[in-house]
C-alpha cells in the first residue's frame, strides 16, 4: 500500500485536533455532553485515521506504551476507584469529592467519578489499539502485494 501525501498531511493535522477534542470531551463529560466513553471513541477514530494514512507503524508511533499497557492501566484505574472506598469502609464505588480553588483555573471540583471515567477512556483507546495491533498491517511490507486499503 502506498502512502498518499494529501491524506498523510491532513491526518497529521486532524489527529491532534481530534485528540484535543477527545480530552475535552473526557473532562467536559461530567456536566455537558461527553464522557470517557465518547472521548475514547473519538480518540479511537483519530487513531484509526492515523492507521488509514500510514499503517500500523504510524499507529505505533503515537505512544511509547504498548496497547495492552494502556488497556490494563484503564481497567486497573477504574477498578481501583471502585475498590478504594471499600478499604476506607464505604460502599463499593462510593463517590469521593475534592473541592478547592486552584490558581489560574479558579474553583475546581474533582470527583472520583472523573478518575473512573479516565479509566474508561483508556480502556476504549486500548481496545482500538489492540484491534489495530491484531489486524493491522505494515504498509511497506504489503506494498508489493498489490493490496489496497480502500
Amino acid at each position: 500500500m502506498r502512502r498518499v501525501v494529501a491524506l498523510d498531511t491532513s491526518v497529521s493535522l486532524i489527529f491532534y485536533a481530534m485528540m484535543t477534542g477527545s480530552i475535552y470531551l473526557l473532562f467536559a463529560g461530567h456536566n455537558q455532553p461527553g464522557g470517557g466513553f465518547v472521548g475514547g471513541l473519538v480518540a479511537g477514530a483519530a487513531i484509526a485515521l492515523r492507521y488509514v494514512a500510514g499503517g500500523i507503524d504510524e499507529v505505533r508511533r503515537i505512544s511509547p506504551f504498548m496497547p495492552w499497557t494502556i488497556l490494563g492501566t484503564g481497567v486497573v484505574l477504574s477498578t481501583s476507584v471502585a475498590l478504594v472506598p471499600l478499604l476506607l469502609g464505604d460502599a463499593v464505588l462510593d463517590n469521593g469529592l475534592v473541592e478547592g480553588d486552584v490558581p489560574l483555573l479558579g474553583h475546581v471540583k474533582a470527583t472520583s467519578g472523573a478518575v473512573f471515567d479516565l479509566g474508561v477512556y483508556l480502556v476504549v483507546i486500548g481496545v482500538v489499539l489492540m484491534v489495530v495491533e491484531a489486524f493491522g498491517e505494515r504498509f511497506d511490507a504489503a506494498e508489493d502485494g498489490g493490496e489496497r486499503l480502500l
Binding site: 496497547p67 488497556l71 473512573f116
Partner: protein, 786 residues
C-alpha cells in the same frame, strides 16, 4: 491460632517465591511453621485437656455469617498435634530424602507448608464454611504435590484423579454444609453439633457430607485416587496420604456422628462403607509387590476401620476410634518413611528387585519390625492396645446383635496382620531367600535420615510401656466428641476376656493367611479381574468426554448463519410469544413528529436495504455505517446530543475496523444460498424486525410506575456532582455495570489479539514480507500450541 495460620501462609508463600536459592535450607526454614504450631499446642494442651477449649474469632463477611471461628477442643488437639508433630518430622526427614540440588524443591516445600497450615486450619475450624475452605485447600495442595513431577504424565494423571474425586466430593459436601447451616440458622460447627437440626433436608445434606468425607478418606468406591497418589515423593505420601489429610473425612464423620446418630441412614451407611473398605483395602494390600502401594492399600483399609469405629458413634467406640487414629498416624507415617529410606538408598521398592539389606541396616530393620508389629496389632505394642480397645468397645455395644460387624472387623484385622507380615517379608526376608545380591554397605542410611522414623518408633515404644500416658489426651478428645464418654484408661492387659480371644484369633488367622500366602495369592488373582474404582473413574471420565464431544458437535457446529439465526430467533421468540399471548392496548404514537425525521428514516431504510442486497463486502460495510449515521441524525432531531455523539463516534470506528478485517476476506460475498434457505433467512430477518418493532411499540405504551430516570435526574448533581445525567449514570449510579463492561471489552480485545497472533509463527513479523512467504506455511497445530 490465626497468627499460626498466617505464619504457615507467609512461610509457605515465601519459600515458594524464594525457595530455589535456599535449596535444602528451605526445609528448615519452612519447618519452623509446624514447629511453632507444635510448641503452641503443647503450651495450651493442659488447659484444653482440662476441658476449656481455646477459641479465637474474627468477623469476615457478616452478611454471609462467615466468621472465622477457630476452636481448639480435645479432638482438635489430638489431630493438630499429629499434624504439627508429624509435620516437623516430615520436614526433618525431607532434608535427607531430597538431593541437595533437587529442582523445584522450594515449590514443594512451600506447598508442604501451605498444606500443613490448611490441615491445621481444618481441624481447628469452628465454622462450616471455613472448614470447607481449608478442606479444599488441602485438596489443592495435595493435587500440586502429587503432580510435583509435572513432566511425568503418570504423576499428572494421578494428581488430576485425586483432585477430581476429592474435589467433587468436596463440592457435594459444600452443598450439604449450606443446607445444614441454613436449617440450623448458624454455620458455627460447635453450635450446630450442640443443637443439631433435623428434617428431610438435613438427611439429604448428610448424604452429601458423607460423600465428601468418603472421597477424602479414600473409602470404597472412591479409594482409587489414594494408591495413585503414591507417585508423589515419599515424604508427601507419609504426611498427606497416610497420617493427616486422608484423616479429614474421618475427622468429619467423628464430629458429626454423635450429633446425627439418630438420623436413620447415617450409622448403617458409614459403618457399611467402612467395613467394605476395610476388607477390600486389606485384600488389595496382600496383592501388592510395591512396598509403598502395599502400605497405601493398608491405609485405605485402616481408614475404613476408623470409619467403622467413629460411625458406630457410641461412647466406647469413639474412645477406641481416637486411640486407633493416634496409633495409625504414628505407625503408618513411620512405615512410609521407612519405605522412603529403602527407595532412596537402593533405588527401588519393588519386592522382586530389592537387594538384601544387610550390613549397616540392622537398626533400620529392627525399627521397621517394631513399627510393623504395631500395625499388625501384636501383643505388647500400642497397635495391640488400640485394637483391644476397638474389639472391646464393639463387643460391649452389641454383644451378639451385630455379630457381622465384629466378624468383618476381625477378618479385616487378620488381613492387616497378613499384609504387615508381607511388608516385612518383602522388605527383608524375600530378597534373602531368592538369593538377591547384598546391598552395598555405603548404601546404608545415615543416622539423620533414620532420625524421623526413629522418633516415631520411640513414641510408640513409650506408649507401649506406658499406654496410660495418652489417657488424658484421648479422654479429652473423646469427650470433645461425645460429652458422655468415660475417662480413658488404656492398658496392655485387661485379663482374659472375649476381646483377648478375638486378638488371638486375629493373630492366628493372620499367620495362616501369611503362611499360606501362595494359596491365598491364587484366590486373590481372581479378584484382579474384578473392575476397580480406578476403572470406574476412567470409564466415567471417558464417558464425560464423549458426551461433551457430542454436545459440542451439535451445539457448536461452526456455521455462522446458524449461530446468528438461533440467537436472533431466541431473542425474538421470547418477547414475541409474550406479546402474542397478551397484546396490550396501545395508542399508536404520532407517525411523524418533525419533518426531518422522514428524510432520515428514508436514508436509514435505503442504506439498510442496500446493505442487505449488495454483493461487495466493502460497500455493505459502508452502507451499514450510513444507517448508523442516520440513527445519530435521529438522535439529534430528538434532542439527545450525548447519544448522537456516541453513535457517530462508534459508527466511524466500526467502519474503520470493518475495513481492517474485510481486507482479509474476498471482495465479494460467496454465492448466495438459493431457494428455501434464502426464504428462511428472509423469514428470520422479517420476524426479528417485526417483533422488535411490536415490542418497542408495546413497551412505550405500557408504563406503570414513574420512570426511574426521574430520580436519577434529581440526584445527579447532589449525589453524583455532575450535571450530565447520562455520564453520572455511567460512572456513578451504574458504575458497577460500567466496570463490568470495560472488563468484558478488555477481555475481548486480549482475545482478539491472541486469536490474530495464534496463526503466526512465534517471533515472525506480523506480516511476513513476500520474500519470506515461501517458508511461512500455514501454522501447524504444534506451532499454535507453542
Amino acid at each position: 491460632m490465626i497468627l499460626l495460620l498466617a505464619l504457615h501462609a507467609v512461610l509457605g508463600l515465601g519459600v515458594i517465591a524464594g525457595g530455589e536459592r535456599l535449596q535444602r535450607r528451605a526445609l528448615l526454614v519452612a519447618g519452623l511453621a509446624p514447629l511453632a504450631a507444635l510448641v503452641w499446642l503443647v503450651a495450651h494442651a493442659a488447659g484444653v485437656i482440662e476441658g476449656t477449649p481455646v477459641t479465637e474469632s474474627f468477623t469476615w463477611v457478616p452478611e454471609l455469617g462467615l466468621d472465622v471461628d477457630l476452636r481448639l477442643d480435645g479432638f482438635a488437639l489430638l489431630l493438630a498435634v499429629l499434624v504439627s508433630g508429624i509435620g516437623v518430622l516430615v520436614f526433618w526427614y525431607s532434608h535427607w530424602y531430597f538431593p541437595a540440588t533437587q529442582e523445584g524443591l522450594g515449590r514443594l516445600v512451600g506447598l508442604l507448608t501451605l498444606f500443613s497450615g490448611s490441615m491445621f486450619g481444618l481441624v481447628v475450624a469452628d465454622n462450616l464454611l471455613v472448614l470447607y475452605g481449608c478442606w479444599e485447600l488441602t485438596s489443592i495442595t495435595s493435587y500440586l504435590l502429587i503432580g510435583n513431577k509435572y513432566a511425568d504424565g503418570r504423576a499428572r494423571a494421578a494428581a488430576l484423579q485425586a483432585l477430581l474425586i476429592t474435589g467433587a466430593g468436596g463440592l457435594a459436601m459444600l452443598g450439604g454444609f449450606v443446607v445444614i447451616g441454613q436449617q440450623a440458622g448458624t454455620y458455627q460447627l460447635s453450635a450446630i453439633l450442640a443443637d443439631p437440626p433435623s428434617g428431610t433436608a438435613v438427611t439429604a445434606a448428610l448424604v452429601l457430607v458423607l460423600l465428601g468425607a468418603a472421597t477424602k478418606s479414600a473409602q470404597y468406591p472412591f479409594h482409587s485416587w489414594l494408591p495413585g497418589a503414591m507417585v508423589a515423593p515419599t515424604p508427601i505420601s507419609a504426611y498427606l496420604h497416610s497420617a493427616t489429610m486422608v484423616k479429614a473425612g474421618v475427622y468429619l464423620v467423628a464430629r458429626f456422628t454423635p450429633a446425627f446418630a439418630d438420623v436413620p441412614f447415617w450409622r448403617p451407611a458409614v459403618v457399611t462403607v467402612g467395613l467394605v473398605t476395610m476388607v477390600c483395602g486389606g485384600l488389595r494390600a496382600l496383592r501388592q509387590s510395591d512396598l509403598k502401594l502395599l502400605l497405601a492399600f493398608g491405609t485405605v483399609s485402616q481408614l475404613g476401620f476408623l470409619f467403622v469405629l467413629f460411625g458406630m458413634g457410641t461412647e466406647e467406640t469413639v474412645i477406641a476410634g481416637c486411640t486407633m487414629l493416634l496409633a495409625h498416624a504414628l505407625f503408618k507415617a513411620g512405615l512410609f518413611m521407612g519405605v522412603g529410606v529403602i527407595d532412596h538408598q537402593v533405588g527401588t521398592r519393588e519386592v522382586a528387585r530389592l537387594p538384601v539389606l544387610d550390613r549397616g541396616w540392622r537398626a533400620f530393620t529392627w525399627l521397621m519390625v517394631f513399627i510393623a508389629a504395631a500395625m499388625a496389632g501384636l501383643p505388647l505394642t500400642f497397635g495391640f492396645v488400640a485394637k483391644e480397645e476397638a474389639y472391646q468397645s464393639l463387643l460391649d455395644e452389641a454383644p451378639f446383635g451385630e455379630v457381622t460387624v465384629i466378624a468383618v472387623v476381625v477378618f479385616a484385622s487378620m488381613l492387616t496382620f497378613a499384609y504387615s507380615a508381607r511388608f516385612l517379608w518383602g522388605a527383608f526376608w524375600y530378597p534373602r531367600s531368592r538369593g538377591a545380591p547384598t546391598a552395598a554397605s555405603d548404601d546404608a542410611p545415615s543416622a539423620g535420615f533414620l532420625a524421623a522414623p526413629a522418633v516415631i518408633g520411640a513414641v510408640l515404644l513409650v506408649l507401649d510401656v506406658l499406654p496410660g500416658l495418652a489417657d488424658s489426651l484421648l479422654t479429652a478428645a473423646s469427650q470433645a466428641l461425645d460429652a458422655s464418654a468415660a475417662a480413658v484408661h488404656l492398658a496392655m492387659w485387661h485379663g482374659f476376656n472375649l476381646a483377648l480371644l478375638l486378638s488371638a484369633v486375629t493373630v492366628a488367622g493372620g499367620l495362616v493367611l501369611f503362611v499360606g500366602r501362595r494359596s491365598v495369592a491364587r484366590v486373590l488373582v481372581l479378584g484382579a479381574a474384578l473392575p476397580t474404582g480406578g476403572d470406574a473413574y476412567r470409564a466415567s471420565l471417558r464417558g464425560l468426554n464423549r458426551v461433551a464431544d457430542r454436545v459440542t458437535g451439535v451445539v457448536q457446529n461452526g456455521s455462522l448463519p446458524v449461530y446468528a439465526g438461533v440467537i436472533l430467533l431466541t431473542a425474538a421468540a421470547l418477547p414475541g410469544i409474550a406479546l402474542a399471548a397478551d397484546w396490550p392496548d396501545v395508542d399508536a404514537p404520532p407517525l411523524v413528529d418533525q419533518p426531518g425525521e422522514v428524510l432520515i428514516a428514508a436514508l436509514i431504510l435505503g442504506s439498510a436495504l442496500g446493505a442487505a442486497v449488495i454483493r461487495r463486502r466493502f460497500a455493505a460495510a459502508l452502507l451499514l455505517g450510513m444507517a448508523g449515521y442516520g440513527m445519530a441524525g435521529l438522535f439529534v432531531v430528538m434532542g439527545a446530543p450525548d447519544l448522537a455523539l456516541t453513535q457517530t463516534a462508534i459508527e466511524t470506528l466500526t467502519t474503520v475496523l470493518f475495513v481492517l478485517v474485510l481486507r482479509r476476506l474476498p471482495d465479494r460475498f460467496e454465492r448466495r444460498a438459493g431457494g428455501p434457505v434464502r426464504v428462511l433467512r428472509v423469514a428470520v430477518a422479517a420476524t426479528v424486525g417485526l417483533v422488535v418493532f411490536a415490542f418497542a411499540l408495546a413497551a412505550s405504551g405500557e408504563r406503570i410506575g414513574p420512570p426511574v430516570s426521574d430520580e436519577m435526574t434529581d440526584l445527579a448533581y447532589p449525589e453524583g456532582h455532575g450535571r450530565n445525567v447520562v455520564n453520572v449514570i455511567l460512572v456513578d449510579f451504574r458504575g458497577f455495570d460500567t466496570m463490568g463492561e470495560i472488563t468484558v471489552l478488555a477481555a475481548a480485545a486480549i482475545g482478539a489479539v491472541a486469536l490474530a497472533r495464534a496463526g503466526r509463527r512465534p517471533g515472525a513479523p506480523a506480516n511476513p514480507a513476500p520474500a519470506d512467504a515461501g517458508d511461512a506455511e500455514p501454522a501447524r497445530p504444534a506451532e499454535v500450541e507453542a
